[in-house]
């Protein structure tokens, strides 16, 4: 082999850019894409069912419920889990980490590139789905600002969940189950307990961005209690702060952590 150019001195960007590109390319595989298309089409179908079944009045009740329960309490956490835990665990499971973490670039550059690719892919899927849902629900009596608030809530909650679950996956291969327990157990449970404790959940702040949504039972149970929702600025700040803190801690931890294969442990 002829060495025509000198060995480069790679920096942060050298690790970030290829990781981001590959992360995007692998974020949505054919199989995963098919599942996503089916799942992401469901909210629009639900809203369509409401339109056909009950007309604009029913639509006014259905749309907030769909945004709140289907998007904020299900799709956003599950997208965060699917894409967030995949940032490290996919490569760990596939045996790629020995190659990635012995490159002459900071490990944090690789993780950040993959995380942002995962976030972009997840955000694209959700935004597209929500846009279609809102389009189907046009004319619903939900107030003029609702679509914007819904989009903001989804777009701010997603990075927070994704970063939190990515951070969790640095610690344990079982981040997925732990994440499920958090998103579909603990958050739901804490949301029903009166008092300040519910302010420790991400869903509280995501819902705060949406404002009060009527409902009296099950997952739609009145959520904010006497404390009421957080102010939009605080909610946005907490969600963004969680996202930034999560990704920062992930990068810091990955830099010093070794990934021993399960067989050796």
């Amino acid at each position: 082999m002829t060495a025509s150019s000198p060995a480069p001195r790679p920096g942060f960007l050298s690790g970030f850019a290829p990781s981001f590109t590959r992360g995007l390319a692998t974020a949505i595989t054919v199989k995963k894409g098919l599942i996503l298309v089916v799942v992401l089409a469901v909210p629009a179908l639900l809203v369509l069912a409401a339109r056909l079944h009950g007309g604009p009045r029913a639509l006014g009740h259905a749309l907030p419920a769909v945004v709140l329960v289907v998007y904020l309490q299900f799709l956003v956490p599950i997208a965060g889990l699917l894409f967030g835990t995949g940032v490290i665990l996919d490569d760990a499971g596939a045996g790629n980490l020995p190659y990635l973490f012995t490159r002459p670039v900071p490990r944090s550059a690789v993780v950040l590139g993959k995380s942002l690719a995962a976030l972009l892919a997840a955000a694209l899927c959700l935004v597209l789905s929500l846009a279609v849902t809102l389009l189907v629900a046009r004319g619903a009596r939900v107030g003029t600002g609702f679509p914007g608030r819904a989009m903001t809530a989804v777009l701010l909650a997603l990075p927070a969940y994704l970063a939190a679950f990515t951070f969790l996956s640095v610690f344990t291969r079982w981040a997925l189950v732990a994440g499920f327990f958090y998103a579909f157990g603990l958050e739901f449970f804490l949301g029903m307990i009166p008092g300040m404790i519910r302010k420790s959940t991400l869903i509280y702040y995501a819902r705060s961005l949406l404002g009060e949504v009527s409902g009296s039972r099950g997952m739609l149970r009145a959520f904010f209690g006497r404390e009421g929702p957080a102010s939009p600025a605080l909610a946005a700040g907490v969600l963004l702060g969680t996202a930034l803190l999560g990704i920062l801690l992930t990068c810091l931890l990955v830099a010093g952590k070794e990934f021993v294969s399960a067989e050796r442990e």
Partner: protein
């Protein structure tokens, strides 16, 4: 020099091995589940539910006096029905840990080919895996149910609890098996679809919780509470209500629930029969 056929030939002799050929597979799988700390945590969480239920029971007993021990709040059946339906959540999480990788990991690591190089049939393999997930599920249904039964019997001042609820053990067993078999066959079917246990766990858990979300939203949108049945947990609850004669479900729901659960299990088994193969074509 004779030229021999070098192709693969199926073994045409009679298969005479031990009776329960699937049992070693089940045992092996249970052994690997035992080594997973998270599975232990989830089982402990499930058992904690039992503690909570016993506290409620004991409080009820104290408030209402021992004379009304049998069926004070419908406790004869209701408390067991309540416990088992609430354990379903933990069973789902446990199966994500212990069941989602069962077949996917065998495909990925090539263990499936090793299994089928032994004198076992596809049915043995599937039964073995099913045995493992059903037994795992029973750890969070049958075990707490049996413990609660023993606790109730122990708290009872006389034999009235046992004599008053002669069919209760069978009901606990039946509902436990229903939950474990339905969820177990579903998780295995999902596991057989791919090569990654992690993705299988997401799909299985996602499907369960997605059904929960739909079960909340659909009745609201369509103004009809019967649509709650799309939530797999409610569906299991409705079917279980016919076992325990409990629960508050709209007319027709339990029958529909049995139909849905039977169809789901059948589809899962068919999927397993179709997907579990010793040969993988690499593209």
């Amino acid at each position: 020099m004779p030229v021999y056929d070098q192709g693969y030939r199926p073994y045409e002799g009679a298969l005479r091995t031990r009776f329960l050929r699937w049992w070693p597979i089940t045992r092996r799988c249970l052994f690997t589940v035992r080594k997973k700390p998270l599975a232990a945590v989830l089982i402990a969480g499930g058992i904690l539910l039992l503690y909570e239920v016993i506290l409620v029971y004991a409080t009820g007993v104290t408030e209402r006096g021992f004379s009304r021990i049998v069926n004070p709040w419908g406790y004869g059946d209701g408390i067991f029905y309540d416990l088992l339906t609430r354990e379903t959540y933990f069973v789902v999480l446990l199966l994500m840990v212990s069941g989602a990788g069962q077949i996917a990991e065998d495909v990925r690591t090539g263990a499936l080919q090793i299994y089928f190089s032994k004198p076992i049939t596809h049915a043995d393999y599937v039964l073995g895996k099913l045995g493992a997930v059903v037994l795992s599920g029973c750890l969070l249904t049958l075990l707490p149910g049996a413990l609660l039964f023993l606790a109730c019997a122990a708290f009872s001042p006389d034999w009235s609890f046992l004599t008053g609820n002669p069919w209760l053990p069978l009901r606990i067993l039946a509902f436990s098996l229903l939950i474990s078999i339905v969820l177990g066959s579903l998780v295995l079917a999902v596991s057989s679809l791919g090569r990654k246990g992690r993705v299988a766990a997401i799909v299985f858990g996602g499907a369960y919780f997605f059904s929960m979300v739909l079960g909340e939203v659909l009745p609201r949108i369509l103004a009809d509470s019967r649509y709650e049945i799309v939530h797999l947990g409610r569906c299991l609850g409705a079917a279980g209500s016919t076992i325990f004669t409990q629960g508050d479900f709209p007319a027709g729901s339990p029958a529909l629930a049995w139909g849905i659960l039977a169809s789901l299990s059948l589809v899962s088994v068919l999927l397993l029969a179709r997907k579990v193969k010793a040969v993988e074509v690499v593209r």
